[in-house]
Amino acid sequence: MTFDWYIVATYYPLFLQGLAITLGFTAISIVTSFVLGVLVASLISLRIRFLHHILEWYVAFFRETPLLVQIYFVFYALPELGVTLSAPVAGILSITLCEGAFFAEIVRGGIQSLPQGQYDAARALALPRFRVLSLIVIPQALKKVIPSLVGQSSIVFKDTSLLSVIAIEELTGITQKINAELINPMTTFLTAGALYIAVFWILNAFWLLFERRMRKEGSEAWT
């Protein structure tokens, strides 16, 4: 078994197709996870009785169980409860539930790090709690935790490889399919691995730019 460039040259459209699907799932999942995370963190910070306990348990549970098990659960076990989802929807839902918990934890950390004075000032203006949260607390908290949010988004990109287990043909799934046909794991898996690494670092560079820009805007707005 050797590395066969001919395979790369012949099959690259399939690899790229898989990569495109991976990026699609990544983009959707980052948005949904982010929204869920902000929502959960806000609700937790409102300290509504019972609800915030439930949400804290949700965050703990989904952060402390493997994503793979969550995917299996959503795809195989939810139908028993009458919730049947197609593989792509089940995949996005599992990643959202899992990464939403991670995003929530990050945003919650940001909210907790804000000085109490911010709240008091806003409350002194007699703004309702919810408006304080959405207009003042969340935007500031998000700015504080941008690096962590960016780091977590990179993890979402890698997470999507697990969607191959429910027959989604993203990069990992399609690589397995190509390998089943060609039986040259050295070529197929190393090619896929190289693609993941390259795209991961390209995305990282973009996010770094984004982060820098956000921070610049942030400092102009808040100084």
Partner: protein, 269 residues
């Protein structure tokens, strides 16, 4: 700066060299290797009751195919180690030398003999089509309509057969039997096609919700598989199958796992 660049170039060049230099080779005859190491590595697909499955009481792999390969190993005088893979992992594991034999319900097909060393068949059966109870579809021809979704296991020989017989139908591929059954019960698909035994075990407990179309779809036989050039091992397994069919051991295992007597006439011997 130049110095740093040089170090980087050297590092990356070394890494590329290492990557291209790692390659595996196997020159030794597999059967001799098995005999001398005293261990037979076997890939199984433990997802089809009663052919091969995990016993829920003990967590051990059991069934018709594991019993056959255990009997073979016993006669060869070696230990056997079973590795449980997904279907899509079986042949990559075999062809990259992770295991010596795939002891599973590998459909015997002639195109497969190009890439795999198939043994003589060890079971004669066929595919079954299952639909939901009360479904308007009763034959394969009924299912050949635009918008109808039929599913089968990825890589199974039913996929090309379905593409040939139901050109209008959408054909989906799943990786596990449980997925297929769930998909049928939850109306993601209209029909599933699997090996007869897999259908019977797969719908266990759902008998009222599922209707199995009585006609056998595509008669099939199952083989074990070895790497394409392992002629000695392939011959050895063939001899084993012939022997146990004549001496009654096959008959006993057949009865044990399928619950009825083996009828050699049925397979046209």
């Amino acid at each position: 700066m130049m110095q740093k660049m040089k170090i980087w170039v050297a590092v990356i060049a070394t890494l590329l060299l290492v990557v291209t230099a790692v390659s595996t080779s196997s020159a030794q005859d597999t059967l001799q290797k098995i005999k001398s190491s005293g261990k037979l590595d076997v890939a199984v697909y433990a997802s089809v009751k009663p052919l091969s499955f995990v016993d829920p009481q003990t967590g051990d792999i059991t069934g018709f195919a594991p019993d056959l390969i255990r009997l073979y190993a016993e006669k060869l005088g070696v230990k056997v180690e079973l590795h449980n893979y997904d279907w899509s992992g079986l042949f990559p594991a075999l062809l990259t030398g992770k295991v010596d034999v795939v002891a599973a319900n590998v459909n015997t097909t002639i195109p497969r003999t190009v890439t795999l060393g198939l043994t003589d068949p060890w079971l004669f059966t066929g595919g079954s089509i299952a639909v939901r109870a009360g479904s308007p579809y009763h034959t394969l021809a009924d299912l050949n309509k635009e918008g109808v979704v039929i599913a089968a296991i990825r890589g199974s020989s039913y996929i090309p057969a379905l593409k040939r017989d139901c050109p209008k139908t959408t054909i989906k591929e799943y990786t596990a039997i449980a997925d297929l059954v769930q998909a049928l019960l939850t109306k993601r698909i209209e029909a599933l096609v699997m090996d007869q035994l897999a259908v019977l075990s797969g719908i266990e407990g759902h008998n009222k919700q599922v209707y199995v179309i009585p006609d056998r779809y595509v008669p099939v036989t199952y083989s074990f598989a070895v790497s394409p050039n392992d002629y000695a091992l392939q011959n050895s397994l063939n001899t084993f199958f012939q022997m146990i069919k004549l001496n009654g051991e096959y008959k006993a295992l057949y009865k044990k796992w399928l619950g009825h007597d083996w009828n050699p006439k049925m397979v046209g011997y």
